[in-house]
């Protein structure tokens, strides 16, 4: 039996330790109970996206009045729709879309269950791709009720040299505000035919302000404790280290360090808006660099309020930093005891070896982010997930088969699972953690844990699923 106390002690907070001790007691208490239960053949089913109010999208309630006042205004930046130029009569502060882009606003993809979240049930790209006369075709892998996916090519056209970059879905060609820019969308059909196309599903940003400031040493020590445990069931992750030696935290491969660097990167990569971090267009074809660079810039006008002084990425980052983590909801089925047992099973089978229950933030200048326990259910490290899940994209020290442990807070209201959004069934998503190794990549680190999950009684399995959908 794996030692839940050891895993739960990742956080330096006393409360987390207390939770772990309680869990340990519960594990042993319930084990005696479950041991005498009959194992049903029927497997658990996903109750689906939890109903009720969105447990996310609100900002922290204990911001200072000044902070909260700024937030309400900054929030509008997150939902603004970018245009290419002012040629269509738009506002100069909202120009810069393209020449290549995936969408025209942050909240187009970060939408569910509230602004700042993940892919909504209806794919918003269908209302974007031909906007303002754009002549885009919808790539074959986007579906009206599927996740909003961005595409990467693991390799260059020689199929050997690593690429790994996002290849934006759409171009501005044909838009009334895009002048004579004439470029073609990437050839996704050929890329797919040569097995050189992978997808990334939108990750939610709630609680990102806590995630970005968890101590590096807490993350590293937690990971080392698991690696060094004789009961780690084959789990041993590692950090994706950044240029200053800190632990990367955001993105499917933990390639981004902070909300600010993430905002600036996505602004250019996803929307094509050049900014002070990434001041050049991704495609510099003559006729397609339509605005002075960077398109998002400091506003030196002394008559605008100070919060309008920096570029948009600072405001995006503040918005996300001030958003509270998702609040768990009621247990699906209405029986709280089911989810209580589900957490025990979750810990018991070893899910928590990677999906670390919580970390506590260090003192922070923003009160709600200071000494706060973040129940993110992630170790924020990257793990080998087997060839079935490998996308052959290396980012930093995350290899082609390695993924950041996805934080599970808010997963009760998430529609699409796994890096490529391939399933909406959380049971299937769990099963997809299991994968044998091959000559290129080792087996998934989760294999033994999934075996443990499959060995659970149907009731315990269902409780575990219910617990996840309560988050």
């Amino acid at each position: 039996m794996f030692n839940s106390g050891k895993v739960g002690s990742a956080s330096s907070s006393k409360s987390a330790v207390r939770v772990s001790i309680l869990l340990t007691l519960l594990v042993f208490g319930l084990l005696r109970f479950t041991a005498i239960m009959v194992v049903h053949a029927q497997t658990a089913s996903d109750p689906g996206v939890r109903g009720g109010p969105p447990g996310a999208g609100n900002w922290f309630t204990n911001l200072t009045p000044l902070e909260e006042g700024e937030f309400q205004i900054l929030f509008s930046n997150f939902v603004e729709q970018e245009e290419v130029t002012t040629g269509g009569g738009g506002d100069v502060l909202r120009t810069g879309l393209g020449p290549r882009f995936d969408s025209n606003s942050c909240n187009s993809c970060h939408a569910y269950p509230a602004v700042g979240g993940s892919s909504p049930p209806q794919n918003q790209l269908f209302s974007v791709y031909q906007l303002n006369g754009a002549k885009n075709e919808m790539p074959f892998f986007e579906t009206p009720n599927g996740p909003t996916l961005v595409a990467r090519f693991p390799f260059q056209t020689d199929l050997k040299t690593p690429d790994g970059h996002v290849h934006a879905l759409f171009v501005i060609t044909g838009r009334s505000d895009a002048g004579a820019c004439n470029i073609a969308q990437p050839d996704f059909v050929t890329a797919a035919a040569t097995n050189n196309l992978i997808f990334r599903n939108t990750t939610p940003t709630f609680g990102g302000g806590m995630l970005e400031v968890i101590k590096n040493s807490d993350l590293i020590n937690n990971g080392l404790a698991v690696c060094n445990s004789s009961q780690n069931q084959g789990v041993c992750g590692h950090p994706n280290l950044q240029p200053d030696g800190s632990v990367g935290r955001f993105g499917w491969k933990a390639q981004n360090r902070s909300l600010l660097t993430f905002s600036a990167e996505a602004y250019n990569v996803e929307e094509g808006v050049t900014n002070l971090f990434f001041p050049n267009e991704i495609d510099e074809t003559p006729g397609c660099v339509l605005n002075p660079l960077p398109e998002d810039q400091i506003n030196f006008d002394p008559t605008v309020p100070p919060k309008m002084f920096p570029g948009d990425p600072e405001r995006f980052a503040i918005t996300m930093r001030f958003m509270a983590p998702p609040a768990p909801g009621t247990c699906p089925g209405g029986n709280a005891g089911s989810c209580t047992n589900g957490l025990v099973q979750f810990t018991n089978v070893g899910c928590a070896l990677c999906h670390t229950q919580s970390f506590t933030t260090p003192p922070h200048v923003i009160t709600p982010l200071s000494n706060a326990q973040a129940f993110l259910y992630s170790d924020v490290l990257v793990h080998h997930m087997g060839p079935c899940n490998a996308d052959n994209v290396a980012q930093g020290s995350a290899a082609g088969d390695e993924w950041r442990t996805t934080p599970l807070w808010g997963i009760g209201q998430r529609v699409f699972f796994m890096s490529d959004g391939r399933t909406s069934d959380i049971v299937q998503a769990i099963e997809d953690h299991s994968c044998a190794g091959n000559s290129q990549y080792p087996a998934s680190e989760a294999n033994q844990v999934i075996t443990n999950f499959n060995a659970l009684s149907a009731e315990n399995q269902q409780d575990l699923i219910n617990f996840l959908r309560s988050l």
Binding site: L276, F277, P279, N280, Q297, D301, K307, H364
Partner: protein, 478 residues
């Protein structure tokens, strides 16, 4: 003394005589005597005239910085540039303490306590000054640091990078800060040790001048790539550079000795934490989290939500550092050392003819900039292709950074080199002729030969000639 031997005599006698006379006149102004072996076919002794005298030629803002919204090419959103730039000068010069009155956040590990400490020659924003500034920083306020062996009072202010982890095999490549706050009166309760620096696992890095960087950061990636590709396909000297690119947007990264940094904004956030230990909204955690050593809430430099502030006080310090550097004008070339402008004109011709210019590309032109006329459509005469080249095992430091292998370096821009004290990534040379010589290196089993070898042979063929002295004079005029 760097004594050269004269080998060929293709220059017409009369021109050569004039040059020798001019050079002799120059020598009268030099502190140390050098023997010029007469006129005729006899060789001359080529010498680095040293750091150019006269005004700094750098440190001010770009000529076209907007001073009002009514200025040509400016508007409401850019009119305040000069107002803000002047304010950011003091941010670049501010000295951070560990705790107490702002600005705070120094350490727990740091290389220095202000930007200008290392970026000061010949003006704030520049490179390492003649006297190593770290000697006035390392024991400040009671700090108990010892000075690492590779720092010297009249040497460059060097960073220490460990190529490998202690197992000597796993790549490291991060900066290991020279100093700690232990012992400082504003750092009570923090007790940590300096790194143990050993020559066998050490790469040192010399501060880079930031003048003109606002132009460099917006040069089109495609212009950089096309220039490099044209050189690769057109020269027979073995020169073919590689861009270092961002793993995010694929753009050409262009700052730092290995060309691995994309923008001033990003570099400011990174180095505020790496060089000074000040956590910020890009890099919000301390590099060393030993209990007792993190006295401040994180991040130590952050958005200012207070009412009644100036607009430029809203973001954290890195935004202000970046504004300061973005609008710093490129260095202005000075008079040709010796006073004969023709020497430097010929020197540039020699620089081009022997192939220096294959990597040290004369200029790029910036695209239209949203900052207005200061950075828009400007010819940036930077003398760099901004891409990476193999420089041989002699210069290799075994540090990998993005596409830059252990033997690869970004071509350092040469604008302002006339006023520079220390050359090469490790600041090991103060004589520009020796720095040129260091470009020459045979390959070994680990790394290929330097791409500059054939060009160096061309340079060597000019030994003892006025053409070589002219080339050196040209460089020192920049």
């Amino acid at each position: 003394m760097f004594r050269q031997v004269y080998h060929n005599s293709k220059t017409p006698r009369s021109r050569r005589m004039v040059r020798v006379l001019v050079f002799s006149a120059l020598l009268l102004m030099l502190p140390s005597g050098i023997t010029v072996l007469g006129g005729g076919k006899q060789p001359i002794t080529v010498k680095d005239p040293g750091v150019r005298g006269g005004p700094p030629g750098a440190g001010g803002p770009v000529a076209g910085i907007c001073t009002s919204k009514n200025q040509t090419g400016c508007g409401a959103a850019t009119g305040g540039e000069q107002r803000v730039w002047l304010a950011t000068q003091s941010t670049f010069k501010q000295v951070n303490s560990v705790t107490g009155t702002a600005p705070i956040g120094l350490g727990p590990r740091f290389n220095s306590n202000s930007c200008v400490s290392c970026h000061s020659q010949p003006a704030p924003g520049g490179a390492s000054p003649p006297s190593n500034p770290l000697f006035s920083v390392y024991q400040l306020d009671g700090a108990q640091n010892t000075m690492p062996f590779f720092e010297s009072t009249n040497g460059a202010a060097l960073d220490g990078v460990f190529p490998f982890l202690p197992n000597t095999q796993t790549p490291d490549g991060t900066v290991h800060q020279l100093f700690t706050v232990t012992g400082r009166s504003d750092a009570s309760g923090c007790s940590i040790s300096q790194p143990t620096f050993v020559q066998s696992n050490l790469a040192t890095r010399n501060p880079i001048s930031t003048f003109g960087d606002g132009l460099i950061e917006i040069i089109l990636s495609s212009d950089i790539k096309n220039n490099a590709a044209a050189v690769c396909s057109s020269n027979s000297l073995g020169i073919c550079g590689t861009p270092n690119t961002s793993g995010n947007d694929g753009s050409v990264t262009r700052f730092g000795w290995k060309g691995d940094l994309r923008s001033l904004q990003f570099a400011s956030g990174l180095f505020y934490n790496v060089e000074m230990g000040v956590t910020n909204e890009m890099f919000p955690n301390e590099i060393d989290e030993t209990p007792g050593c993190n006295p401040n809430p994180l991040p130590e430099s952050s958005t200012n939500f207070n009412a009644g502030i100036q607009d430029y006080q809203f973001p954290g310090d890195p935004e202000r550092f970046a504004i300061f550097m973005r609008f710093l004008a490129p260095p202005t070339p000075g008079n040709c050392p010796g006073g004969n402008a023709a020497s430097c004109i010929n020197g540039q011709a020699q620089f081009n003819a022997i192939g220096c210019v294959l990597c040290h590309t004369t200029s790029f032109t910036t695209p239209a900039s949203s900052t207005g006329p200061g950075l828009s459509n400007q010819v940036a005469t930077l003398y760099s292709d901004l891409v990476l080249h193999h420089m041989g095992p002699c210069l290799a430091d075994n540090v990998v950074a993005g596409a830059a292998q252990g033997d690869m370096f970004r071509t350092p821009p040469l604008w302002g080199v006339g006023k520079r004290m220390f050359f090469l990534h490790n600041g090991i040379e103060t004589d520009i002729i020796k720095a040129i010589g260091d470009h020459n290196c045979a390959g070994n089993s680990q790394y290929p030969a330097s791409e500059a070898n054939a060009v160096y042979q061309n340079f060597k063929a000019l030994n003892g000639t006025q053409n070589q002295q002219d080339l050196i004079n040209f460089l020192r005029s920049l």
